[in-house]
């Protein structure tokens, strides 16, 4: 790496060379994150169909295979779906605002991918180790809503607009609860850096994870995450039984697929954040031999998969919420719970040293 940097500096001068080297190396690293992520998205859709199928005593996709290998039946399905989506025509409705109609899916997927920049996969493996990582993630996830609003407006259709309005109100409401839950996490870790948040959960066992002292916050965060990604049972923005398909009713082909990709990569992002904030990120559950031998990267992936399973399980289990119930849950249940927990946590952290050193409390405070 240093040799390449020196060559860059020789060709472009010291200042420009090092900056251009930074730019190109970061571009390569971005591809190294985004391409596996999109593959994960593809296979998450497959996992979703399979898991929900088995929960409903069906088989799910079982036809498309690779090279006719029988035990891979169904595994080619996401690839086939992607090819189908690429081949389809993108229809732009005649009454639509063309430029914004095309811009909307791009605006949806951009923040969903950009937030991955600060996610640490292991102690060293992180693209941007910035101090205000948690704030950056909050800022990026809050921008995802623009694509949905613009899609709803630019389609020039009542159904799409209703979906966009529902989604906007819902996301803004749940962002507050989500932010307050994260405030609890950063009170515990005393840092906004995501690597430091994981390191703050280091200890002998899973008892040190923030899951235990912040269990209500874990639930609030996970449920708000489901609501933020517009997933069932909070998928009123799509609501196919009442407003057809909500904000993306007029989209087809690749333009629709981009919305789809953004939704699933947001799901993976929320799962990754939940595992980092509450389940100890790359840390093994017990700090003894068989667990510590497995690399941290694998532990993180396992935790992400575990949380993603919850997303799919929710979808297979719960009926869709009524809209006023969604608002009630967000404003009247989650926000008061998080506010009370923040005050409680602050009080515990300000207790005298002798009380905080009591058994159980001394694990976390």
């Amino acid at each position: 790496m240093e040799n390449i940097q020196r060559q860059f500096e020789q060709v472009f001068g010291t200042d420009w060379g090092s900056m251009l080297f930074l730019l190109t190396s970061n571009l390569v690293l971005i591809f190294a994150i985004v391409i596996p992520l999109l593959l994960c998205v593809a296979y998450l859709t497959f996992a979703e169909r399979k898991i929900i199928a088995y929960m409903q005593i069906r088989v799910g996709p079982n036809r498309v295979t690779f090279f006719g290998i029988p035990w891979l039946r169904g595994w080619g399905q996401p690839i086939a779906d992607a090819v189908k989506a690429i081949m389809k025509e993108i229809v732009i409705p005649s009454g639509a605002n063309k430029s914004l109609f095309v811009l909307a899916p791009i605006l949806t997927i951009m923040p969903a991918l950009a937030a991955w920049a600060v996610i640490p996969f292991s102690p060293e493996l992180v693209l941007a180790d910035i101090n205000a990582g948690l704030l950056y993630i909050l800022a990026m996830t809050s921008m995802g809503i623009y694509g949905i609003i613009i899609a709803g407006w630019a389609s020039n259709s009542k159904y799409a607009f209703l979906g966009a309005m529902r989604s906007a109100a819902q996301v803004v409401s749940y962002e507050l609860a989500m932010g307050f839950a994260l405030v609890c996490v950063l009170m515990m870790s005393q840092s906004l850096n995501i690597g430091d948040i994981v390191n703050g959960q280091q200890g002998n066992s899973f008892l040190n994870w923030y899951l235990i002292p912040l269990f209500p916050m874990f639930l609030v965060y996970l449920i708000s995450g489901v609501a933020e990604t517009n997933r069932a049972p909070f998928d009123v923005a799509e609501g196919e039984s009442e407003i057809v398909a909500g904000f993306h009713v007029d989209y087809s082909g690749m333009a629709f697929t981009v919305f789809f990709l953004a939704e699933y990569s947001n799901m993976i992002l929320v799962a990754a954040l939940t595992s980092i904030m509450f389940l100890g990120g790359w840390l093994p559950p017990l700090d003894i031999a068989p667990f510590t031998l497995i690399p941290g990267f694998i532990w993180l992936l396992l935790k992400i998969a575990f949380i993603l399973f919850f997303f799919l399980w929710f979808r297979a289990t719960f009926p869709r919420y009524r809209y006023d119930q969604i608002m009630r849950l967000g404003w009247k249940v989650f926000i008061p719970i998080t506010l009370v927990w923040i005050v409680l946590l602050g009080l515990i952290m300000q207790l005298p040293e002798s009380i905080r050193n009591l058994p159980l409390l001394n694990i976390w405070f």
């Binding site: 101090n131 704030l135 800022a139 809050s142 921008m143 623009y146 609003i149 407006w153 607009f161 906007a168």
Partner: protein, 202 residues
């Protein structure tokens, strides 16, 4: 020209163009979106000044929350552009006066040395592990705690006032009460009536 200068000029170019766009485009939705672009490029400029907390909070608060609601309202309203343009020449002298005052103030700041104002020295660059957020938090909660709490109370008053102005209790409104719905018992709703079976007379 160094790499940072190039980035600075790109960002400022986009910022000025989008800010001009906000007040010149005819479509109010475009105008709101251009304002979002202006905020984001402005955050980029602040990042160049190492003000990472302010930059990210600008995106989080203004782009992520305020402008979403703004866009929401702009999209819902049926705005008649001709009626908005009606009083342009009537209000033009007033607007021009405000513009002149603003230009005067800005030029006094920018050309400080001609007006006897000391120029601010360039802030010293900090280490990589310098946390701007922690420093800001420390100042807000120690030195400027009264000013900060005053601002917070002001916002709270505005919020309570907005709710008080819009909250109306209508007597004829029908809405479900979830706790009553849950507490309902079989005896409240269901009445079992014994009806003698009809005899089949043949």
């Amino acid at each position: 020209m160094s790499f940072q200068d190039v980035i600075f000029y790109i960002f400022s170019g986009i910022l000025i163009a989008s800010a001009l766009g906000v007040i010149t485009v005819r479509n109010p939705v475009y105008s709101a979106l251009l304002l979002v672009l202006a905020f984001i490029t402005c955050a980029g400029l602040w990042l160049l000044l190492e003000a990472e907390f302010l930059a990210i909070v600008l995106v989080l608060v203004y782009v992520g929350a305020v402008m979403v609601l703004f866009l929401f309202v702009v999209m819902m309203l049926d705005i008649n552009l001709d009626r908005l343009r009606e009083g342009f020449w009537k209000w033009f002298p007033f607007g021009a006066l405000i513009a002149v005052i603003m230009v005067g103030e800005m030029s006094m700041v920018l050309m400080g040395k001609y007006f006897g104002v000391e120029e601010m020295p360039t802030p010293a660059p900090h280490d990589v592990d310098y946390s701007n957020t922690r420093e800001l938090g420390r100042l807000i909660y120690t030195e400027y705690v009264y000013a900060f709490e005053l601002a917070a109370v002001l916002l709270l008053v505005a919020m309570v006032a907005a709710i008080a102005l819009t909250l109306r209790h209508r007597e004829d409104k029908k809405s479900p009460n979830p706790s009553k719905q849950i507490q309902v018992k079989k005896e409240d709703r269901l009445r079992i009536v014994a009806i003698p079976a009809e005899k089949n007379e043949q």
